[in-house]
Amino acid sequence: MIIESGSDIVTHVIGGYLGAGKTSFVRSVLTSTTVPVAVIVNDFGSVNIDRALLSRVGDNLVELTNGCICCSVGDSLAEAIFTVMEHPRRPEMLLIEASGVADPAGITAFTHLDGLINGGTVVLVDAVNAIGTHVNPLVTRTFERQIRAADLLAITKTDIADAQVTAKVRALLESLAPSTPVAVASPDALGSVIVTSNIATFSDVSHDDFRSRRIENMNFTDIDGLKEFLHALPSNTVRAKGVVSLTDGSNHEVHLVGNHVAVTATDLFPTGIIVIETPESPSGPDGTTTPGIE
């Protein structure tokens, strides 16, 4: 059986090297989300939440007026996760911000804890500094580990980077992780794409960086078929979400981030699937656009 409990918290890990925009991403999510989200950050100070938004401030946890909670890692990530899971305001979604040198895979491993479900790992890459970071021998390995841990890669800060440099960064990512989708987006836009859970507003995502479409009238007999379909979506797919009814009448919530697909049983009504894509045309059936050069 693949069905997981419907109350599992969909968990995303946000990684990326120093300066890639993780903090902007987290801040954007916390201040613009329409559903209660929990965020685990390395420290509150960096997130710098507007005081007007704070409703309760504890030692390691703050509650926001919009229903979100934000928890700092402190001494133990596991403890922070348990704190979130046991909090009376049980969130619909959990984001864990990895530190600038962390291997996101080590953090994604925590999503196997009872009560969580892995929703996919997003790694942000700073267009301006990525090449320099990669050639710095002190951190080459760290950078490459981060890229390879991603289900979805996002190049940020392209507004202040030379177009040629951005192209080089994209080529670098495609050589390091040939089958991982790459989006170009601001951390803010990406935040709304990853977190938006309200299916009604989901289709309103109208950033220049993304386009969206809705898929309805699907006819799957089982979860494996549904998963197969999701995995076969075009290679420029960044995000997909929705509630799908199988032919046996059971309803399932669908979460796709880049290469990662999660399906959980739910009591929610079917909505179809909203698919968010990058504007460029999808690549060939094997999903690769550039041959690996490792």
């Binding site: 090297y17 120093l18 903090t23 390395n42 420290d43 509150f44 100070g45 960096s46 710098n48 030692d59 402190g74 001494d75 133990s76 990530l77 596991a78 403890e79 996760i81 348990f82 530190s99 600038g100 040198v101 895979a105 080590g106 953090i107 491993a109 925590f110 196997h112 804890l113 009872d114 710095n136 002190l138 951190v139 390995r141 760290t142």
Partner: protein
């Protein structure tokens, strides 16, 4: 201070003879330990080396899997059925018996969940009762859940994400290491081995008012037995350093005679025996290089700047030589921006620091704190596995530091190695390994250098040499009370000297059980 005759000139006639058969020295100063060293009151110790517990009793080392099973069985006999048994410090690196697995632990108990936390901190081995409790079955998909060759679960849970699957047992450890009881046992354990001032290097007592008040309350009682140096840990992000500085400055308002906030701590890399230290060419002797920076190296200067400018000392964990260099380069940059010459910033662990780095450190007024206990606890592994025969000779190069004139201390990093400066002195003076090797004859130091390293030179790098570290008029009357004089005994016997206890601010504090 002085001879009996000199004291009499001050009109002192009330002579206290209680220590006439013992040796009084300046109180030992430990500049790098951790308060979690008091955890064994709650989580039994099952390591390879015998270790003294905070209550003064000695737990014999576990030298085989069978010995571990016996120990667990005896714990199970006094543990109500169904309750968990969590033990720590298991160190299979010296065991030549079969690798510990769930089948072994099932022999100790099938009705108590058992969780054996390994000394390296990266691994736990659990029994079948634990696997069943959390429904961890053959189809478990979590990374780090270990298996036998036939696919059956072997009871290994690798790295925190997998260890946390055994939720209650893992949390028991996380909570115990920071509990007030652990802190109390830590302070007793330090007094028992003759430490009068100890730095808990890298804690979070500074971060909010509640924890600042808590540490003040825990340390202010008259009978609190040590002078506690609370060294605040810096996190990973650069954007919050100014707030971190505010927290440290706010914490200083809670200081008193037995509570000090002189320095902050940053961890820059991993460990040599874990292959996670940043080691330069030719890298590790055997094994795969997993070297990693724990903060981005280019952010180090920005992380340190506010503290340097606020004249707060920085102790930086650098096991590898690459990290030592990054730290020294950062300090050089900060000094060119802001000329605080008396900063005493310190490379702590400093195990692979090169002679060139030591000369640069000396010129920059940087101090070192060597993890010289490694020569005993992992010396053979360093010689044969991690760094090889040549570099193992110069690990924790106290002799070279002396020739260069670099100020240094030596430390235990308790609970990583047992607390106690007679052992660190012995390790620095003899550099002997468990198999009898002497690693780096030329790096051995004299008893006089070793004694200074554990007293005044440790106080110096904590910016506390005007208060502790030597017996001088105007400083605290902190003394270590020994049963023999380290300057008189055979250098090989320094570690075996008995400790009566300490004197703190003139108040005698016998060790537990005496």
């Amino acid at each position: 201070m002085g001879t009996l005759a000199e004291c009499a000139e001050w009109g002192i006639t009330n002579i206290d003879h209680r220590f006439s058969e013992l040796v009084l020295t300046a109180g030992f100063v430990e500049a790098h330990a951790h308060s979690m060293a008091g955890m064994y009151h709650e989580i039994p110790y099952v390591g390879w080396f015998a270790r003294e517990m905070p209550d003064g009793t000695v737990v014999e080392g576990i030298r085989s899997t069978d010995a571990l099973i016996d120990r667990l069985r005896s714990i199970a006999e006094v543990t109500p059925e169904g309750e968990s048994i969590v033990v720590t410090g298991f160190d299979p690196i010296y065991l030549d018996t079969e690798r510990l697995n769930a089948d072994h632990l099932d022999k100790a108990s099938t009705t108590h969940p058992i969780f054996v936390f390994h000394a390296n901190g990266h691994l736990a081995t659990v029994n079948t009762a634990t696997l069943s409790k959390y429904s961890i079955g053959p189809d478990a998909s979590a990374p780090g859940v270990g298996r036998f060759a036939d696919g059956r679960l072997n009871g290994e849970l690798r790295e925190p994400a997998a260890m946390a699957l055994a939720r209650e047992e893992f949390r028991h450890i996380v909570r115990t290491v920071s509990s007030p009881e652990t802190f109390e046992h830590f302070s007793a354990a330090m007094r028992n081995v003759g430490i009068t001032t100890v730095a808990d290097l890298g804690n979070l007592f500074h971060v909010n008012e509640r924890s600042r008040q808590q540490i003040r309350d825990m340390t202010i009682a008259d009978d609190f037995p040590i002078r506690f140096v609370s060294a605040s840990r810096l996190g990973g992000a650069t954007s919050d350093v100014n707030e971190a500085l505010e927290h440290v400055l706010a914490a200083r308002a809670y200081a008193h005679d037995k509570l000090h906030f002189p320095v902050v701590k940053l961890v820059l890399d991993g460990s040599i025996q874990g292959f996670t230290a940043m080691v330069s060419w030719p890298g590790y002797f055997t094994g795969e290089d997993h070297g990693l920076f724990l903060v981005p190296p280019e952010s180090v200067v920005d992380l340190f700047r506010p503290f340097h400018q606020a004249h707060i000392g920085i102790h930086c964990h650098c096991n590898g030589d690459i990290t030592s260099q990054v730290f020294l380069d950062a300090i050089e940059q900060l000094l060119s921006e802001h000329a605080w010459l008396d900063h005493r910033h310190t490379v702590t662990h400093a195990q692979l620091m090169t002679p060139a780095q030591m000369r640069k450190a000396k010129n920059l007024n940087v101090a070192a704190n060597f993890f010289v206990n490694h020569m005993w606890f992992w010396g053979d592994q360093h010689r044969h596995i991690t760094v090889g025969p040549d570099r193992a000779q110069h690990l924790n190069a106290c002799g070279t530091a002396d020739r260069i004139g670099l100020s240094y201390s030596i430390h235990t990093d308790a609970p990583v190695t047992p607390p106690g400066h007679l052992h660190t002195m012995w390790a620095a003076m003899n550099r002997r390994t468990p198999t009898g090797d002497v690693l780096g004859d030329s790096e051995r130091i004299s008893v006089d250098r070793a004694f200074h390293a554990v007293t005044i030179d440790a106080a110096y790098q904590l910016h506390m040499d005007h208060l502790v570290g030597s017996l001088e008029v105007g400083k605290f009357a902190d003394m270590t009370v020994l049963e023999a004089d380290p300057y008189e005994v055979d250098p090989e016997a320094v570690a075996d000297i008995g400790v009566w206890g300490t004197v703190l601010s003139g108040r005698p504090q016998p060790r537990s059980g005496s």
